[in-house]
Amino acid sequence: MEQHHHILSVLVENKAGVLSRVAGLFTRRGYNIFSLAVSPTEDVRYSRMTVVVDGDSSPIEQVTKQLNKLIPVIEIRELAASDAVERELLIATVKASAEERSHLIDLVSIFDGQVIDVGVASVTVMVAGTPDGLDAVADLLAPYGISELQRTGRVALPRLIRGSRPLKAVKSSDQ
């Protein structure tokens, strides 16, 4: 997945139904999404969707152009993985007997994670990181016994350029 995914950072009007317009477009045109995260932005009129698309099954240029045709879509930036900083949040409830608990806490802290809830025989941990890093965390937690795990899907912003390399931005009129 990591080789072929494309990140689209989509600025949309913050109006009812926009998510279903975007999701509906993906269904109708047969595009596959790995993850989709929606969040408010610094400006209340807009939200930002971070869509991770499977570039193998979905022609990214078409995806972008079709998205651009949606009226509430204001701007789309296509972020190549190398041009973006990406993060994702994972929380998991993991079995942890009294003896295992300190191992588990050590493991989570290697990844700058935290324990956010504690039960009699299990704990809930939280780790933020790159999607790859979180894959590793999930693998390492598995032997303890994961009873529940959730990931947010990634959010991404363009990497800040200190030289003069321009961002790869896609807009409908730039044909």
């Binding site: 949309v12 009007e13 139904g17 045709k69 949606l70 204001i74 409908s172 009129s173 044909q175």
Partner: protein, 572 residues
Amino acid sequence: MKLTGAQALIKSLELEGTEVVFGLPGGAILPVYDPLIDSSIRHILVRHEQGAGHMAEGYAHATGRPGVAMVTSGPAATNIVTPLCDAYMDSIPLVVITGQVPYSVIGTDAFQECDTVGITMPVTKHNWLITDPADIPEIVREAFHVATTGRPGPVLIDIPKDVAIESMDWYWPDSVDLPGYKPTNKVSTKLIKDAARLMSTAKKPVIYAGGGILKARAAEALRELAEMTGIPVVTTLMARGAFPDRHDLCLGMPGMHGNYTAITALQEADLLIALGSRFDDRVTGKVDAFAPNAKIIHVDIDPAEIGKVRRPDVPIVGDCRRVIEELVKAVRSDLEKRHWPDLIPWWSEIRTWQRDFPLYYEQEEDGPLKPQFVIEKLRDLSPDDTIVASGVGQHQMWASQHWKFDYPYTWVNSGGLGTMGFSVPAAIGAKVGRPDRTVWSIDGDGCFQMTAQELVTASAEQIPIKVAILNNAYLGMVRQWQEMFYEERYSEVYLSPDLPDYVKWAEAMGCIAFRVDSPEDVAPTIEKANAITDRPVVIDFRTDYREKVFPMVPAGASNSDVLPGPTPNGGK
């Protein structure tokens, strides 16, 4: 000034220049029908909401102005989904208004509630659910703007009953503010030069003109470009009439049932100048085998069409008319500087195909009536600028093949969706938009049965359209495929020529009706029909059910493997 939401809606439609609304009232839209009584807008009461949608489409096809339809919630809204989808596929500007249950009860499965905005999202360019009457003028302005600019298309406004009843302070916005909607309007000079350069070296160029020419009102510009360069022009099913069929440079329709020359010229070309066309599968046949040696110049207002099917060498996003006008300038100055290749060898190839593979059929004097013969007689006995609206099936292909479309906006048909039942209501809409023209619906017996009840509308509203039913007693196009590709195993395609009795049915709907069985009665009956101008006319033409549409490119086959069908001398 205080207005109710309903009054504001009607006033907004008036200010957008709406002269006619096709529709049918019901519970949720009741408040909006009340101020309609006092409005200058003409309302045409349909017998089924699908009819309202197709009439609005026919109106838009014929006039270039957006068609407006208004229906109630629930079943009425779902009834108009087919025309929305049809208009979406063929880029027809429509504004559809649907009633909705009161906003306060949305989500409770109230009587006649349905998620109209959700259902129509994939078949509209955009849609709106109004939640506050104060938004009405703004949304109506946005709706007309979106429907008619860029790549045109249908839009829908869903208005809950309580929003229509509540009052608002009237205003009229002077502009629309849609930050995410900015249709392209600049044309890249560099790309125009690149295009002219490619044209200046091509030895076998073809202009592949699509429906975008008509949407952009670019027929004249196209003619100038073609005449200046001597490049042959094919007109797709959506572009019939965009270039005159009787023009020397016109090769007619390409595609699955195009004529041999148009198909083959595209296939053998070294340059395709695609203007407002979208490389539809019905034109390309097997995409990998389509025009294998051609470079491509692709002009379209919709950036998503560029490279969707075939990657062009010169991609130009823009309004067809503006682009063609720029191209004309660039070509003119290039022609002054440089000697363009001689197209005579190319034309002599083309003329050979035209000679050897013309459209062909045989009408025996006392044999069964051939549908092509009927169409040719209709064509020859009706005014040149007659508007033809067709259904979907064999009769549609024969109409497109055998009519001579010499004027833009004279061919009204359902291309992308292929909607049976389109013809009668679309013809009515076209006649409402162009009352000065003769409007013939050329329909199939199967199609006619889907929406014929709109002839009641036509009679009641005195909209004198004419309908030619090519009654072959079959779902003919399906029968043709079963004959050719399913070993003549006919499954559920027989309809009967006499059930219903089309003449009685038409008479019951207030029309004058005739039946024609034999070739010699064709012309006199058409003349009678053309002389009737005060009410709709229907002619039941009993045509030969065995006739098949040729040429034909079988589904999935390469255009090089076109089956030419019968030829006058057995071809070459």
